[in-house]
Amino acid sequence: MSERLAIETRSLKKVYGSGNTEIVAMHDATLTVRRGEVIALLGPSGAGKSTFLTAVGLINPPTSGQIAIGNVPVLDGPRPLVNLRRFRRQHIGYVFQKSNLIPFLNARENVQVALELNGAPPRAARRRALDLLAELGVADRADHGTSMLSGGQQQRVAIARALANQPSVILADEPTAALDSHRGRQVMELFQRVAHQHGAGVIVVTHDHRTLDVFDTIYEMEDGVIRRMAPLSTVLSTR
């Protein structure tokens, strides 16, 4: 495994079903993300992007291949090499398209809960949650219920929660799908900022080509295979 890598995957393969019903969702997916790097993962629906993301997120292990996070080998095929739940709690942040937040907690508590689950004392967790919300520009909504937040505010709170335990990796699955272009761009720029400031490797699955300039590297996934794309100007000109 290389130095300063946030994520390294080798030859990931995911097979659903068996025999006549066998479907290969991901095949030989190899990827590295450095700390502080933000990469976009493009691809049509059914290409295997979510399968890849959930495999890297340690919630849907691959059938074969290896995953290392922060230079720590965590999965060898479906076999866990660490306590996955604890590892997720300490090293991975998640942001998804919608339903990101726990509805019976307010904005601050949604961030605070991630900190407390990781062992932070309630008072310190509360303070850090407020700091993160302030950093993401939603401090004034800290005590609001999730239903009182706009889509953009909800995503900011989700990003704050993802950052709470200073993870090595942030995984985002179409985080701007429910947002208008202005809000979408703001969120993508947030990823870029937090990745650079906090040194996390960020993978964003997106269909939003208007924000591709934010990413350091762009990958495309098709038929379960990941490949690095041409420079951004080429990508944009062909779309």
Binding site: R85, R89, P103, V113, E116, L117, P122
Partner: protein, 404 residues
Amino acid sequence: MNLAAKDIQHNFGRFALTALGIGMLLMIVMGMGGIYRGLIEDATLLVDRIGADLWIVQRDTRGPFAEISRVPRSLVYRALAVPGVESAREFLFHTIQRQHHGKPLRMSVLGLSWPLDKGEWLPLVAGRPLAQNHFEMVADTSLGLRLGEQIALGKDLFTIVGITTGMVSSGGDGMAFVTVWDAQAIQFDMPGEAIRLERAARERRSQTQDVFLSQPALGEQLARPTAELPGITAPQLSAVVVQVAHAADSARVAAVMAAWDDISVFTRSGQEDLLVQGMVDKARRQLGMFRVLLTAIATIVMALILYTLTLDKLHSIALLKLIGAPNRVILGLILQQALVLGSVGYGIAYVVGQQLFPRFPRRVVLTNPDLVQLAVIVLVISVLASLVGIWKALRVEPNEALMG
């Protein structure tokens, strides 16, 4: 951060209604236990209050409460003659149902052994004990009679001179206390027409039987009132209650009396056992079955509600697992809600029960051991009820959080 408390706060209305429903169910369970305790207390109340050491009743009967017992008045004097007996009193007990102010009035009449017993031992809340040997009555408040009110029983009019509280028979009927003479008059009251018919029948028999034909004076005797006829026994008592002297041995006194062939003797605890085991046992078992059923229903309802509450939270639970919440956090969330639901339900049951139970027609007695027992049962059923929800929650996969 207490996730269970946050979820309850978020769904407060639904949680409150659910707790109220559980509380009502538990109140019924609590009430059933209270009714049983009330039955026991009512059954043994009179025996306790009278405080007799020995009860002399008709041979081979379980009287005077569990079944009818008839003993002669002279038994009082026989009992007094036994060494060690401090006092012996007449005891008459029967239940009647009459119309009063157009409504049925059911009462258990207890005859006091005037003048030895004027009812000084009764728990009076108004008025006084009996002051004359006829036509006065001390009534329990549950009968709804007022002080000074008059009530016609048999051919006599009784004035209420005292009001007691909590004096009910094992059947739950309010008690009325009169002298033994009055109690007998009420019990053996016959309409005038029945008396005339009886006399006519006697006269008719006197015209056909040789003994009356040969002794005409005997036939003339038959026209006199029944109570004056030497051949007809006087009205009998239900029992004789005996107080044993402090220095005497109750068992020895009882053994002497038990040798008499016409009576049976019970100690106070023996009499209480007869009442509890004979009269209350079926009711106890009946109520016990209902309590078990209601507890099972409360458990099922709680389990269903907790399961539904868990289903509503599956996405949140998946999200919690996704961000690394250990199973004990998820388990704690559901278990704590179950325990809060059970505890709040129990509290509601107790508070509402305290207001409602005194309005019940029969006494509902909540004792501390019963309340503690029910509290433990509620804790157990809360844990049991949470198991289905916990099972469901632990099966949720974290990637279900991604499904929106």
